[in-house]
Amino acid sequence: MRYLVSVIDDKSDPGSTDRRPAISAFNERLIAEGYWVFSGGLAGTDAATVIDNRGEQAVFSDGPFVESKEYLAGVWVWEAPDLDVALKLAAEASKVCDRKIEVRPFL
């Protein structure tokens, strides 16, 4: 079962910036234990562009699809047998990243 694991940062109360070594070590472990599928940090929401080509021509707009003080700062995709395993890892991930984590199953 695959889970999308989102790292959520908060503009008004951002997590600390020195987490990279800890995250790398955590990733090594995820890979070693067979949970890791993919991971990546994201550039800030000011680097986002939204495209809407449902009409006659594509409309490009500058910025994220939703304005909020919380935003997606990075993602993992994990392979885990069930939610309990994913939640246990997510609890660790939240400590490692110093940020909130959302866990969502893929369909």
Partner: protein
Amino acid sequence: MSDVEEAITRAHHDEWARVVAALTRRFGALDIAEEAAAEAFATAVERWRADGLPPNPGAWLTTTAGRKAIDRIRREHKRDDKHKEARTLHGDTPPEPLGAIDDDRLRLIFTCCHPALAVEARVALTLRMVGGLTVPEIARAFLVQGTTMEQRVTRAKAKIKAARIPYRMPSADDLPARVSGVLTVLFLIFNEGYLASGPGTDPVRHDLTTEAIRLTRLIRALLPQDGEVAGLLALMLLIEARRPARVSAGGELVPLAEQDRGAWDAELIAEGHRLVRERLAAAAAGEAPGRYQILAAINAVHTSARDIRDTDWSQILALYDQLVRLAPSPITALNRAVAVAELDGPEVALAIVDRLAEALAGYHAYHATRADLLRRLGRSRQSRAAYDRAIELAGNTGETAYLTRRRDQLRPDGPHTAQSR
């Protein structure tokens, strides 16, 4: 009630959770298990009336429910997404690796009370899947629309499936934390029954307190070594024992001090006291008691006194002090102040209560307690204002009636009060 109806009611009580749990393990889906169990009970009503009782009603229900589930899966077999479920037709899936304790019903309870579900959903799902209450019954109990409750249960089941919340006993490491979540759900069910909210309902919902006690007994049977489970069961029994004396003939809530203690249920009290003694022995042997055990001990002291004047308030205060250290909360501080009032007088207690003003401004019992202390101090005008606020916030007809009478009995302030005494 006829013998058959009685047998069906009893089987529903005793076997519902077992049937749902066995089917959940076999078919891996809560909704299939629940629907098949409901169909099996419906069939039982017909068949048992016509053919008489089967020798083993539990086995009959499990077998019938299993067949209903297979029928259901076969009907839906053609759909691609059902292929996986259909595979379970070729015999039982190998059992999940065992956790600390192996019991289907316990797994079911832990699944329904999973921390990834919202608390309201846990309550609803537990009453449905473990308690066997229908969704309209649960909706009525919690004063929400049937459709809202239906959605809540359906969404919870969908999340269990989509997020793959496992049907499994928590590991030994996780067990204490997960048990405490289960107990929270059971205590919520009990409390909703004990002091029902909403102006249109009975002050006490006997069906809910009974159900909560039944489910807690089940957990107790499954986890006999858990001190907090024993504590919660004792606590519920000792509160439930006072139920016959808690509401007057006129529908008014009767506070502890004014209750007819002869009307208390002696059997429930004896059972509650036995459990508390068991936990006291464990505490003496070095096992630190948790919140429910301390609350049960407080209720054991209350129920030991033949008359309110015989109440051992210093012991109650000592227990509240212990509770404050273990789990400090403004509500605990408020209840502790009631014991302080008995030992050191209403003035000392009022000083403690007033410090809780900010935290408990919206809590009716805070204002009711304050009103009572002010009344005892002869400060009628302030007491009246506090009663008014308590009445405004009380969500229960029996409580409103009691508070209103108390308020209307207040005497005017000042020297006049002294003269009229």
